[in-house]
C-alpha cells in the first residue's frame, strides 16, 4: 500500500500545495496566457496600451519568407541534433553494456554535460570550434578557409548541432544504458545459444526491446531541440551568418527583444508551442503504437 499523509483540514492541504501552484501559475500559465493575449494584439514597445488586431500577427508571420526559413532551419537542426545525440548515445550504451566495468563512473560522468547551462556550453564550443585557434584550426592550416562558422552558414549550422548534441548525448546515454541493463541477461544468453553473434544480438534482441526508450527519447530530444537551442545559438552564432542559424526560438528572442516587436514574438511563441504539441501528439499517436510489444 502506498503511504499517504492525510490532513484533517482542507486548508492545511491547500497551504502545502500552494507554493507549487503559485510557481506553476506565475512561471507557466501566466506568461503563456499573456503571450496568447499579445499574439492577438499590437503591443506598443514602450508601454501605453495595445490594440486588438485579431489574426493579423499570424497572417503577417506566415507571409514572411524569413519566418518559413526559421521553421525549416529548426527542422534541420532538430533532426540533425536528435539523430546525432541519439545515435552516438545508443552506440556508446551498447558498447558500455557489453563491458560493464566502471559503469557507475560512466553514469555520473556522462550526465554532467546535461547539467551545463546552454550559454556556458555555447561559449566552450565557440572556442573549441573557432576557425583560427580551436581544434579545427589544424584543418584550416592544411586547407585554408575550409572551416569557418563565422562566414559559412553550413559550418555554423554544423557547429550548433554538434554543441547541442554533445549536451544530450550523455542524457540519452543514461536512459539507453539503464534500458539495456533491464533486458534480462538470460535473453542475451538464449540468443547466444541460438547461434547469434554479438552484432546480430544487438539487432535482433536488444534494439527491439529498446524501442519504448527510443520513442521516449525521440519525443524529448525533438522537443528540447526546439526549445533548449536558444542559449547555444545566442552565444555561438547569434543566428548568423546571414540568418543561417536563425532557429525559431532565436527569432522569437531577436524579434521580441532586439526588434521590440512583442506581438510578433508572442505570435511566434504560440506557433512554436503549437508545433511542439503537434509533434508530440503525432509521435504518441503513430510511433508509440508500434513500439509496445507487451
Amino acid at each position: 500500500m502506498e503511504k499517504r499523509a492525510t490532513f484533517s483540514s482542507t486548508t492545511i492541504g491547500l497551504l502545502f500545495a500552494a507554493p507549487m501552484l503559485v510557481l506553476i501559475f506565475v512561471f507557466f500559465y501566466w506568461p503563456s496566457g499573456q503571450a496568447l493575449y499579445w499574439a492577438f494584439t499590437l503591443e506598443q514597445p514602450w508601454g501605453g496600451g495595445n490594440t486588438w488586431v485579431g489574426l493579423q500577427n499570424f497572417r503577417q508571420l506566415l507571409m514572411d519568407p524569413y519566418y518559413w526559413g526559421a521553421i525549416s532551419r529548426s527542422m534541420v537542426f532538430g533532426l540533425g541534433a536528435t539523430s546525432i545525440a541519439m545515435g552516438v548515445a545508443l552506440l556508446l550504451a551498447l558498447f558500455t553494456d557489453r563491458e560493464m566495468r566502471g559503469h557507475k563512473a560512466y553514469r555520473s560522468i556522462f550526465i554532467w554535460p546535461y547539467a551545463i547551462a546552454a550559454p556556458a556550453l555555447g561559449l566552450a564550443f565557440r572556442f573549441i570550434l573557432a576557425p583560427e585557434a580551436g581544434f579545427l584550426s589544424l584543418i584550416n592550416q592544411i586547407w585554408p578557409g575550409l572551416w569557418n562558422p563565422a562566414l559559412d552558414g553550413t559550418d555554423a549550422m554544423i557547429a550548433v548541432i554538434v554543441a547541442f548534441s554533445w549536451k544530450y548525448i550523455g542524457y540519452n546515454f543514461i536512459f539507453f544504458l539503464s534500458a539495456l541493463q533491464s533486458i534480462p541477461r538470460s535473453l542475451i544468453e538464449a540468443a547466444a545459444m541460438d547461434g547469434s553473434g554479438p552484432m546480430r544480438r544487438m539487432w535482433d534482441i536488444q534494439l527491439p526491446l529498446l524501442t519504448p526508450t527510443l520513442f521516449f527519447l525521440l519525443v524529448i530530444n525533438i522537443t528540447e531541440s526546439f526549445q533548449d537551442s536558444f542559449g547555444i545559438v545566442d552565444i555561438m552564432t547569434q543566428g548568423g551568418p546571414a540568418r543561417a542559424t536563425e532557429l525559431m526560438v532565436y527569432k522569437i528572442y531577436f524579434d521580441g527583444f532586439k526588434g521590440l516587436d512583442y506581438s510578433g514574438a508572442a505570435a511566434q511563441s504560440i506557433i512554436l508551442m503549437g508545433l511542439v504539441v503537434l509533434l508530440t501528439i503525432v509521435q504518441f499517436r503513430f510511433v508509440e503504437r508500434r513500439v509496445h510489444y507487451k
Binding site: 534480462p184 538470460s186 535473453l187 544468453e189 538464449a190 540468443a191 547466444a192 545459444m193 541460438d194 547461434g195 547469434s196 553473434g197 546480430r200 535482433d204 534482441i205 527491439p208 526491446l209 510489444y293 507487451k294
Partner: protein, 369 residues
C-alpha cells in the same frame, strides 16, 4: 549425438572458487541429471558446458572436440533456461524459428520445421501469439521447442521445471522423458528437486559445495549413498542419521537405551570410532513400546500423505522419521518402539562423511586413528 567429457573443471569468481575440479564422463544419448542444493555449482557447471561461463581450469570435450575456447554457437548445444528466456517481441513461431533464421535456413524450410516442432510440443494453435499471452506451461513448451528445432547434439536444461506448479511439473517431466526417448540426444538436466532427478535421469550426479559427491543410477544413489550428504539429500523424507560409536561387540551405540547390532564381523579398527548411522524412514518399523530390540521413542507428529504416512518420532532430542503404509495406531505423545533391521543400515565416517562399506564382506576401510 555426442558424448561429453569433463576433466578437472574448475570455476572461480575473483578469489571465490565455486567448482573445484569436477570429472565426469557422459555417454552419447545419456540423460544425466545433476542434483544438488542451491549454490553447489551445478548451474555453473552446466553454463560452462554451454559456453556461457569461462572455464577457470580443466577441460570440457564435446564429441571429441575440446570446447574450452569455443563460442556457445560453435558447441552445438541447446539450452532451456529456468525463466524460459523467451524473446518477448517475437511470436511463438519466431521464437522457435530464431535459431534457424540465424543459421540462414531458407524461409520455406524454416516454416516447415517450426510447424513440425510446434506439433511435437503441442503448440500448433499458438504459433502467432506473443509469449506474454501464454500460460507458464505453454511458455515452457516454447522454450523446449526452441531447443529441439535445430536438432542439437546436446540438450542442456537449467532447472526448467522449477517455475511450474506441482501438477504441471509432473506432466512436463513425463514429456521431457518421452522427448528424450524419441530424440535420443545427450541431455544434461540440472535440478535441486530430487524427485525430478530420480524420475528423469539415467544417471544422477549429486553435487555439493562445488564437488561431485556421487555418480550413479538413481537406484544406486538411493540404495548405496556414497556419502552422508547424499544419504541426507536424496530421498523423501530424508534418511535418519544418528551419530554414535561402535563398541567391541560390533554394536552401534547411540546412547544407553539405543543400540543397534551391526551385521557381520566388525573391522577391529572401527571399534571405538565415531560413525554416523543412517536408516531410511521406509526401512524402520514402529512397534509397541518395550518390544525387545526396539529403540524407545515418543511420537512427535504424524504427516498424512494419503497413500502412506510419516511418523516423526523423537529420540530424546533427535528427530527420527518412520514411513508407514498402514494407518498409524499412534498419536502424538505416545511412547513407541522403533525397530531397525541391521541389514538396512548405512554407515558413514563421522569425520569425512564417506560411506563405510567394511562390514565384514568388504575389504577394511582405513580409518584415521
Amino acid at each position: 549425438m555426442s558424448s561429453i567429457a569433463i576433466k578437472g573443471v574448475k570455476k572461480a569468481y575473483a578469489k571465490n572458487a565455486v567448482v573445484h575440479g569436477v570429472d565426469l564422463e557422459i555417454a552419447t544419448g545419456e540423460f544425466i541429471v545433476i542434483l544438488g542444493p542451491s549454490g553447489c555449482g551445478k548451474s555453473t557447471l552446466l553454463r560452462m558446458i554451454a559456453g556461457l561461463e569461462d572455464i577457470s581450469g580443466g577441460e570440457i570435450w564435446i564429441d571429441g572436440k575440446l570446447v574450452n575456447k569455443m563460442e556457445p554457437r560453435a558447441r552445438g548445444c541447446a539450452m532451456v533456461f529456468q525463466n524460459y528466456a523467451l524473446y518477448p517481441h517475437m511470436t511463438v513461431a519466431e521464437n522457435i524459428g530464431y535459431a534457424l533464421k540465424v543459421a540462414g535456413v531458407p524461409k520455406a524450410e524454416r516454416m516447415k520445421r517450426v510447424a513440425a516442432t510446434a506439433k511435437v510440443v503441442g503448440l500448433e494453435a499458438f504459433l502467432d501469439r506473443r509469449p506474454a499471452a501464454l500460460s507458464g506451461g505453454q511458455r515452457q513448451r516454447v522454450a523446449m521447442g526452441r531447443a529441439i528445432v535445430r536438432e542439437p547434439k546436446v540438450f542442456l536444461f537449467d532447472e526448467p521445471l522449477s517455475n511450474l506448479d506441482a501438477k504441471l511439473r509432473v506432466a512436463m517431466r513425463a514429456e521431457i522423458r518421452r522427448l528424450h526417448r524419441r530424440l535420443g540426444a545427450t541431455s544434461v538436466f540440472v535440478t535441486h528437486d530430487q524427485t525430478e532427478a530420480m524420475t528423469l535421469g539415467d544417471r544422477l550426479v549429486v553435487m555439493n559445495g562445488g564437488r561431485i559427491e556421487q555418480v550413479g543410477t538413481p537406484a544406486e544413489v538411493y540404495n548405496r549413498p556414497a556419502t552422508r550428504f547424499v544419504a541426507n539429500f536424496v530421498g523423501s523424507p530424508s534418511m535418519n542419521l544418528m551419530e554414535g560409536s561402535i563398541d567391541r561387540h560390533g554394536v552401534f551405540v547411540y546412547d544407553e537405551q539405543r543400540r543397534i547390532p551391526l551385521p557381520g564381523a566388525i573391522d577391529a579398527r572401527l571399534v571405538g570410532h565415531k560413525v554416523t548411522l543412517g536408516v531410511r524412514a521406509e526401512a524402520a518399523r514402529l512397534v509397541a513400546a518395550g518390544t525387545p530390540g526396539s529403540l524407545p521413542a515418543t511420537v512427535d507428529f504424524i504427516e498424512e500423505l494419503g497413500a502412506g504416512r510419516v511418523v516423526h518420532t523423537d529420540f530424546d532430542g533427535l528427530s527420527f522419521a518412520v514411513a508407514l503404509s498402514d494407518p498409524a495406531a499412534f498419536e502424538t505423545g505416545d511412547t513407541v518402539g522403533v525397530m531397525i533391521d541391521p541389514a538396512d543400515v548405512h554407515l558413514f565416517s563421522a569425520e569425512s562423511g564417506a560411506r563405510i562399506n567394511a562390514l565384514a564382506q568388504l575389504p577394511p576401510v582405513p580409518v584415521a586413528s
